[in-house]
């Protein structure tokens, strides 16, 4: 089941969020996963933790470096992808679906609206490169 990248919104730090009502799923983009190289370790938050937009909610580590993860919108963590703790390679294999990092509950529709669309994110990437 291929994910529709047009249904996701993106941040400048290469996170994506998929919003359904008040429930959001968050992960990192294919570009981010590729830049990192083989992900060997993930640090994820606890269920129940609350973050403001832009807060660091965890980190992904590759042989090359550690990258902090920044939450795209203000919200409360309702689920974390524990499978990644022993199988971090899933992030490289399928960053947009199986490699999801956390699920949140959010009211921050205003923040969400300001995030980049897929088209804007792709533009942003071509400027970055």
């Amino acid at each position: 089941m291929a994910v529709d990248q047009n249904k996701l919104k993106y941040t400048k730090d290469h996170e994506w969020i998929s919003l359904d009502g008040k429930k959001g799923i968050i992960g990192i983009t294919e570009y981010a996963a590729e830049q990192l190289g083989d992900v060997v370790h993930v640090e994820l938050p606890q269920v129940g933790q609350e973050f403001e937009q832009g807060d660091t909610f965890g980190s992904v580590e590759s042989v090359k470096s550690v990258s902090d993860l920044y939450i795209p919108v203000t919200g409360r963590v309702i689920e974390v992808n524990d499978v990644l703790l022993d199988n971090s390679e899933i992030i490289n294999e399928d960053p947009l679906e199986e490699g999801w990092l956390i699920k949140i509950e959010t009211d921050a529709m205003g923040e969400y609206k300001e995030l980049m669309t897929n088209e804007q994110y792709q533009s942003f990437l071509s400027e970055e490169a």
């Binding site: 190289g37 083989d38 060997v40 370790h41 640090e43 042989v63 550690v66």
Partner: protein, 361 residues
């Protein structure tokens, strides 16, 4: 930024290039994990042309090398190589290198890419009258072919039986009329060879080896996997386990320092250090809790700081985070637990026996 003769070939293979010691080098092609496993299971090809090659010639060449290196050059004969070190007067390390005897009057030195100018100046500074020193680094390219299938591939490639070429020996060979030297040496802990070819022919060898090797599962290997492979095998990397602030005896390289061979630069200081008792030692750590222990991270035992990490990575083979650390000589015994400060958090690691990986003979 300097480039090896294979720069365009790396770009064709869509390698990710990074600056390394002033060179634009491939850090990975398909991925560090995949490349690491390819070397452990099949065969991998590395561009190590950035490394330096010097030619030392003359009737005084052997005595000169005996003076400036720590290993015993008297043990060399034609076709024999040895891993060695050059030390400063205070016993710390100028560089690690491989010394190979072509004849009693001719030797080839292979040195680290990041130290070429420094090493050349150091050798020049101490040169005797009956010795000449030539820097061949720009004329030579070095390709490393490493893995359990390396010999099978090289036998076919050069139409020669290399089963008689022993470890740390070298011999001349020929390919399509081109002369090359085949060294049975390597930095991965696997069986393998390092091929010294004319720089302008590097691309030919690179591409032909990749083609001929595809049936053996050959992969081009970048510096990322080069580091994970050498760390698994507990080989030192200059600037990390050895440097101008570390004694070879502290780095566990006593076996390369022949204090009884006669005088050499640094001998006095190393004898003193040995007699006083070494203050530091290199240990192998395996992280018990997840996360990579990186160079510079502090190591603690029972609340007391005992040293720092010199190199660390994640092994794609064992799937564990492994590291080498320079710590107080009397702490961190094998099986002890220590803590490594990973960006503010103390994480547990276990001291293990070296090496992390050794190939089945």
């Amino acid at each position: 930024m300097k480039r090896t003769p294979l720069y365009e070939d790396h770009k064709t293979l869509k390698a990710r290039l990074i600056p390394f010691g002033g060179w634009d080098m491939p850090v990975q092609y398909k991925g560090v994990g995949l490349e690491h496993l390819a070397v452990r299971e099949d065969v991998g090809l590395f561009d190590v042309s950035h490394m330096g090659e010097f030619l030392v010639k003359g009737t005084g060449a052997k005595d000169f090398l005996q003076k400036v290196t720590t290993n015993d050059v008297a043990k060399l004969y034609d076709g024999r190589c040895q891993y060695s070190l050059m030390c400063y007067e205070n016993g710390t390390v100028v560089d690690d290198l491989i010394v190979s005897q072509v004849s009693n009057n001719e030797f080839i030195l292979v040195v680290n890419a990041s130290n070429i100018e420094k090493d050349f100046a150091w050798l020049n500074q101490h040169l005797s009258d009956d010795v000449t020193l030539e820097n061949l680094s720009d004329q030579k390219a070095l390709l490393a072919l490493q893995g359990p299938k390396a010999q099978n591939l090289l036998n076919e490639f050069l139409d020669t039986d290399f089963s008689g070429l022993k470890y740390y020996h070298f011999q001349p060979a020929e390919y399509q009329g081109i002369n090359l030297l085949v060294f049975r040496t390597g930095y991965t802990g696997e069986d393998g060879f390092e091929l010294m070819v004319p720089a302008e022919k590097a691309s030919l060898f690179w591409n032909d080896l990749l083609k001929k090797g595809s049936v053996f599962g050959i992969e081009p290997i970048g510096l990322g996997a080069r580091d994970t492979l050498r760390l698994e095998a507990c080989f030192s990397l200059y600037g990390h386990e050895i440097s101008d602030a570390i004694l070879p005896l502290e780095a566990g390289l006593g076996w390369v320092v022949k204090l009884d061979k006669g005088d050499f630069i640094g001998r006095g200081a190393l004898i003193d250090a040995k007699e006083t008792g070494l203050k530091r030692k290199l240990v192998a750590l395996e992280m018990v809790e997840a996360g990579i222990a990186r160079e510079g991270y502090e190591v603690f035992q029972e609340g007391e700081k005992i040293g720092v990490i010199t190199s660390g990575t994640h092994s794609p083979l064992s799937k564990k985070s492994i590291a080498l650390a320079l710590v107080s000589a009397h702490k961190a015994q094998v099986n002890d637990e220590v803590q490594v400060n990973l960006r503010g958090k103390n994480r547990t690691a276990k001291v293990v026996k070296k090496p992390f990986y050794a190939r089945a003979s």
